[in-house]
Amino acid sequence: MSGATASLRALAAVSAGGLAVLMLAVMAGIVIGEAPLPLSAVLEVLSVRLFGADTLLDPIDAGIIWNYRLPRTLVAASCGAALSLSGLVLQSLVRNALADPYLLGVSAGASTGAVAVTILGVGGELIEHFRRCLCRCGAGLSDRRAAGARGGRRGGADGAGGHRRVAAFQRADVLFIAKSANAEQARGIMFWLLGNLSGVRWPDVTLAVPIAVLGFAACLIHARALDAFSFGTESAASLGVPVRRVQLVLIGAVTLMAAVMVSLVGAIGFVGLVIPHAMRFVVGVRHFRLIPATALAGAVFLIAADIVSRMLIAGQVVPIGVVTALVGAPGFAIILIRNRARA
């Protein structure tokens, strides 16, 4: 009894701590920028907007904070959380189906779509769509690779990363048509492929945040089931996990998360691959801890990457995908080496 209360209290403390870290990161995302804004101004705008207080603030500053920095930061956080959770879930589901460590590396980096095809056997139509998108964005891809190379060693990243980018683009493409994206977002394939947060406004927040929260909840509910996949799908089944249903629900959740985020900000690489692996290292492999840790780290990481992308070169926004690749490419190399060493 007392043990249960204690662990509940610990859970509450950790959750509060996590939320606090997230809030701090969001604040940092708002405060830091080309036009640095004092924290007091940010708090004032928030209190005006949220609680209807009076203000004497410069309307331009207020506008930057409320219409520009805040939505951008919230979407960055949602994207970071959603993309890293997607990566985590795919790695956990697929890991043992393709026990080979090389394939493991590949599948870890592979796209939602590609994995959905592998696991669920989605028909050839989708593959054909992939192929056409591959042709269409071939030019953009090679540029992207160059960017990745500049970011550091690529290791075996090419195959996996390429697949993911193509798949991401394919989903973006689908949603692009479905949603008839606004002009701001449609500034060109290059920007899509490298991620772009500058077009983000409030309507995007109302899509990104709920999807990230729902996706997080879907993953967390399946934490125990995901643990049971450690020794493969058959072992999961023999532990009482309804394998097919869990795969369908989780891959559905992950696809939705990835698709929505890509439709909003373009493809941002490496987050889904590197963050979950880093978090395994920090909190261990049990999903009840790993899922919240991954979501939080992903959110904070992408906020940080966004800040860096705005600050790296004065007067210019470096595509956020380049920033994540700077961290991600070496991270990917380390993961590949570690996996090989373990095999």
Binding site: R224, G232, E234, S235, N339, R342
Partner: protein, 257 residues
């Protein structure tokens, strides 16, 4: 728990891997499954556990058809230690054994003191408690095997299915495992390669080419004729004067290679 199977079969790539196997497990018995490599032992065990898609035949647990039961209900009754379960995850020994509690816990129910006790007992049963904190990749083959068995024990099943459980185990742990299995008050089905160990089972079934060609008390089933036909070896049967138990000493058949 009573398990009845009728007409069990499974095909892969058009080939019958297992066909027409009937089985009737008496509650509490230890049933040994023997047969040469590729004779379908592992496949049959997975069929009994309801783990193979497109299976032929039918399995009943205490009168309920297996395919009507939710996976969780099956997992509360049947635990399986498969021949090749492995992972690249760096979970600890305790993590792996705790997986055995999965069918008994809902998504958010925390581990209770009872669950912890069950996990501790399972670790003790295979003498792995002292390594509870060690990571999976650094375990030896035999240690991994013992952890898998502990995981299955932590599942608190009523039918325990073991696929070559003495694999990788040193002689002490082989004997310890057999004694553990004999002392469990649950039904056990296990595939074995050591025929002298199979002699310790209540009953044995012999697999050959996907069929169960013989089934009964070990002393009745394991004859020199069976050994030469099914296993392609000759054997002399010796009697241990200490307790009159039968022992086999094997040799290649004269006309073989």
């Amino acid at each position: 728990m009573k398990l009845v199977a009728q007409g069990l079969g499974w095909k892969a790539a058009g080939r019958a891997i297992v066909q027409g196997v009937d089985l009737d497990l008496v509650p509490g018995e230890t049933f040994g499954l023997i047969g040469p490599n590729g004779s379908g032992k592992s496949t049959l065990l997975r069929l009994i556990a309801g783990l193979l898609p497109r299976a032929q035949g039918q399995v009943w647990l205490d009168g309920t058809p297996l395919h009507r039961m939710p996976r969780r209900e099956i997992a509360r009754r049947i635990a399986l230690v498969s021949q090749h379960a492995d992972t690249t995850e760096t979970l600890t020994v305790r993590d792996a054994v705790e997986l055995g509690r999965t069918p008994w816990l809902s998504a958010f129910s925390p581990f209770s003191d009872l669950d912890r006790q069950i996990v501790d007992d399972a670790l003790d049963a295979v003498e792995m408690r002292h390594l509870a904190g060690q990571g999976w990749p650094s375990l030896s083959g035999g240690e991994r095997q013992r952890v898998q068995i502990a995981r299955a024990l932590a599942q608190r099943p009523r039918l325990l299915i073991l696929d070559e459980p003495t694999n990788h185990l040193d002689i002490h742990h082989q004997l310890a495992l057999l004694r553990l299995v004999a002392g469990l008050d649950m039904t056990v089905v296990m595939a074995l390669h050591d025929l002298n160990q199979a002699m310790g089972c209540d009953r044995v079934g012999v697999m050959q080419g996907g069929r169960m060609v013989a089934c009964g008390r070990p002393a009745d089933v394991i004859s020199t004729a069976l050994l030469s036909e099914t296993f392609r070896v000759g054997a002399r049967i010796l009697t241990d004067p200490a307790d009159d138990s039968l022992l086999y000493r094997f040799h290649m058949l004269e006309n073989d290679g």
